[in-house]
């Protein structure tokens, strides 16, 4: 009975979730009879079964997933977000500059937690069902088409986050603390029954499980000194949105691999598109400083300019001749993008890196999303990996609740890590392989890349690799080295000795 009383109190708090100062105090989980307890109760301390740090896409999805799942909906969840909650409406006149690509699994999760209908109602969803990828230096290009279903959706980050926070209001177990940030964390141990989280305003929460969903620069990770492995690509991504010429609306995702890095155009609703241009740091800074008109000139050049071959055309020409025998490749006039009218947003940039936390879990702690793993945005999979973490963790916590485990039990959390780590590493390695395949500007590798790209338009392995990365499916196997072997075998038929030598070297480097 006391439980229900507690719940209805919680409901009142939630209906007015901006009032973050409301305090509920009780002595223990499920005991509910704090009034009879003789121990002194600290006024500032509140207990939540789960504290999620980070109310972004992944964190708010996690909260909703726990709230909507039968065997976890009784768990009291606090969601801590440093930025103020932005209401879904009114919508901005033009799309926000930060957009993300969502695969079907992610959309399925949004649907299950009651956010997809809210997102759809904004009429700002854009599906894509074609993928056109080509290269800077020659005629190579590949084309994927999926007529039966959309390959995924491009959505505005801000819009999805607001919809998720809106959706979380329907779950009475969720309390949003915003704006609020974590000052310190004291993890539970054999001598301390519960984890204590102290907020910047000195409010104290006790909890059984902290879920860190606070992104690539996770405060929790820093606080607890968690070890991670990573590298910088020495690149930045410049992002903005553009308006296509009147009457143009596309469902194709375009990507061109330039010597400096890939530029991508992701279709948005109402004739808009999102640009993600990865390039070296100096070039990115230069692009950020340009005025809109000059930026437009640079961007059109990036999409449509001819081969940049450092003055040495012979190998490219040779390869081009060989490749022109391949009738299935994307022909020259197919390599184009819809006309661009103007740049419709400010430009922003973020550094590109790869980072992987060694251990996602320990007693009372679990990392999800970018807090656990940061990938290159080239394949647009960062958020999809994070949402796959949400699904896996919800499943594990649900099993734990059904079989009588504390929500922070390390053995159950370890199973989440077992489920996710391999998938995440596979995806990271695939993307990193693609980065190295496409990310080099040295001529011979550019030539091989171009060769490979065209040859592989018809070669199922790499095609399915790129396809599965885009779709977010995870049955990737033997990426990297094996793909190169297949390229190698295919290429031997053409008896091109020099590139084979170079590819063998590359193969040795990758592994």
């Amino acid at each position: 009975m006391n439980r229900f009383l507690n719940k209805s109190t919680l409901l009142l708090v939630n209906n007015n979730f901006r009032v973050t100062g409301s305090r509920r105090c009780y002595s223990g989980v499920g005991s509910g009879d704090s009034l009879n307890n003789t121990q002194p109760i600290k006024q500032e301390q509140q207990h939540y079964d789960v504290v999620i740090v980070g109310g972004g896409l992944v964190g708010s999805s996690m909260a909703c997933a726990l709230g909507s799942t039968e065997s976890t909906k009784h768990l009291r969840v606090a969601l801590i977000e440093s930025a103020p909650v932005q209401p879904l409406y009114p919508l901005t006149a033009e799309p926000d500059l930060r957009t993300l690509s969502f695969n079907h699994t992610s959309v399925g999760l949004f649907d299950a937690i009651g956010a997809w209908s809210l997102i759809k109602d904004t009429k700002r969803t854009a599906a894509f069902n074609q993928l056109k990828v080509w290269d800077a230096s020659g005629g190579g290009g590949i084309h994927f088409q999926d007529n039966t279903e959309s390959m995924g959706y491009i959505l505005e980050n801000r819009l999805v986050t607001s919809a998720l926070l809106e959706a979380s209001k329907q779950y009475e177990s969720i309390t949003i603390k915003s704006p609020a940030s974590v000052k310190s964390v004291q993890l539970q141990s054999t001598t301390q029954q519960q984890t204590t989280v102290t907020l910047a305003n000195n409010e104290q929460l006790t909890t059984d499980l902290i879920i860190a969903a606070d992104g690539g620069n996770s405060i929790i990770k820093k606080q607890l000194n968690l070890e991670s492995l990573g590298k910088s690509y020495n690149q930045k991504a410049v992002v903005c949105t553009i308006k296509l010429a009147p009457g143009y609306q596309t469902t194709t995702l375009y990507q061109r691999f330039l010597p400096t890095g890939p530029i991508a155009m992701l279709p948005l609703a109402d004739g808009y598109a999102s640009i993600i241009w990865s390039t070296n740091v100096a070039h990115a800074n230069y692009l950020l400083e340009l005025d809109d008109d000059s930026f437009m000139v640079q961007m059109k050049h990036a999409w449509l300019s001819g081969a940049k071959t450092n003055g040495n055309n012979s190998i490219v020409d040779l390869l081009h001749n060989v490749l022109s025998t391949n009738p299935e490749r994307l022909s020259g006039n197919e390599i184009s993008i819809p006309p661009i009218e103007r740049v419709s947003s400010k430009r922003a940039s973020f550094p590109l890196r790869l980072e992987h936390t060694k251990s996602y879990t320990q007693r009372g702690l679990c990392l999800i999303g970018d807090a656990a793993h940061v990938v290159h945005p080239m394949a647009g999979q960062g958020v999809n990996l994070g949402l796959a973490d949400v699904i896996a963790l919800t499943q594990i916590l649900s099993e734990g609740q059904a079989t009588g485990y504390n929500v922070g039990n390390e053995m159950m959390l370890e199973r989440y890590q077992e489920n996710r780590k391999l998938e995440n590493i596979k995806m990271m390695a695939s993307i990193d392989t693609l980065f190295h395949l496409f990310g080099s500007s040295s001529l011979p590798i550019t030539a091989i890349r171009n060769l490979g790209l065209t040859l592989l338009d018809n070669l199922s392995p790499l095609k399915s690799l790129i396809m599965s990365i885009s779709k977010g499916t995870s049955n990737l196997q033997g990426i990297g080295k094996e793909k190169f072997k297949e390229i190698l075998q295919y290429e031997k038929k053409y008896v091109i000795t020099k590139p084979i030598q170079i590819m063998s070297d590359m193969e040795g480097n990758i592994k």
Binding site: G28, G30, E70, A402, T403, G404, Y405, N406, M411
Partner: protein, 304 residues
């Protein structure tokens, strides 16, 4: 290496204890007097004692230690029990109205509870549960571990989670037909007089109540996997943990059970993937198996 093994054998002592004291009159009396005194001191354990047993409990509860296979088995066997209880209508299919307390209102005894791996699960699922073990070290470890957790220590304070140091026959004297559910997991293979043990366990069940038991089959395959494989080759569990001659065939158990008006409802195999140590339910009962039985409602009056 040798140090390692002797270390493991020390741990296996807690299991072996069960075998040595059982049905020895001297020990029963001994334990009986112990149980009274220990019970009184549970709530007021000395600080040094808690510290000492904390260390021991940590060992038993180390999920990467020799008890790892048992830890990994626990979620699977609890899920099995919850599913069977739902199927047979003992608990609601909605699982406790979404409160996470699917076993609320049920009185359960876990016979041979060890350090409380299963007992803790029952307690969190809302049951009024007794963990019974004749080995005092196990009981102390179980209590020390439960006290590290807020929910469980609250449940101990409210007497809905109790650990009692006693043999089953001693406990049965004044707890006849007292429990909705009796479980005895991975215990019967350490017991010498199985028919007598089953008789005592089943006497605790209320008419219409439930009985769960898991153990290892007396097959060559079980010998190869659980003793040769798990103890000697993979060293998953301490050498000397298991004695094949004490393994029990399911058909024998079924006849002991029906002799006490307890009817077998289901039997399933349990399989451990040796690489991941993850368990799953299978049809084949040749190695590990778990069974579900129910006591007939008229058993107290109707004796064959």
């Amino acid at each position: 290496m040798i140090k390692n093994i002797s270390n493991l054998i020390t741990k296996s002592r807690y299991i072996s204890n069960y075998r040595s004291y059982n049905y020895s009159t001297n020990n029963v009396n001994n334990v009986n007097s112990n149980s009274n005194t220990t019970k009184n001191t549970f709530s007021s354990m000395k600080e040094e004692e808690i510290k000492f047993f904390n260390g021991m409990a940590k060992d038993w509860w180390d999920i990467n230690g020799p008890m790892r296979p048992l830890h990994k088995m626990n979620p699977v066997r609890v899920q099995y029990m919850v599913d069977r209880l739902k199927q047979s209508g003992v608990i609601k299919t909605s699982g406790g109205g979404g409160s996470g307390k699917s076993l609320a209102g049920l009185k359960i005894i876990d016979v041979g509870c060890g350090a409380g791996l299963l007992t803790e699960s029952f307690s969190r699922l809302g049951a009024d549960v007794v963990g019974l073990d004749a080995a005092g070290n196990n009981i102390s470890m179980a209590i020390a571990h439960a006290k590290q957790d807020k929910t469980l220590s609250d449940n101990i304070d409210r007497n809905t989670l109790q650990y009692i140091e006693s043999t089953v026959e001693q406990h049965a004297i004044d707890h006849h037909s007292s429990y909705d559910i009796v479980t005895t997991m991975e215990v019967v293979e350490h017991v010498e007089n199985v028919p007598e043990f089953i008789k005592q366990c089943t006497s605790l069940i209320k008419p219409g109540g439930c009985f769960f038991l898991s153990t290892m089959n007396k097959t060559t395959l079980a010998y190869l996997t659980t003793i040769v494989g798990a103890e000697y080759i993979c060293k998953f569990v301490p050498v000397g943990t298991h004695h094949w001659d004490q393994y029990v065939k399911p058909e024998d158990l079924q006849s002991y059970l029906s002799g006490n008006q307890v009817n077998l409802k289901d039997i399933s195999g349990l399989f451990m993937n040796p690489l991941t140590m993850n368990w799953s339910l299978i049809n084949n009962t040749n190695v590990n198996y778990i069974l579900f039985a129910m006591k007939s409602t008229t058993s107290t009056t109707n004796n064959s």
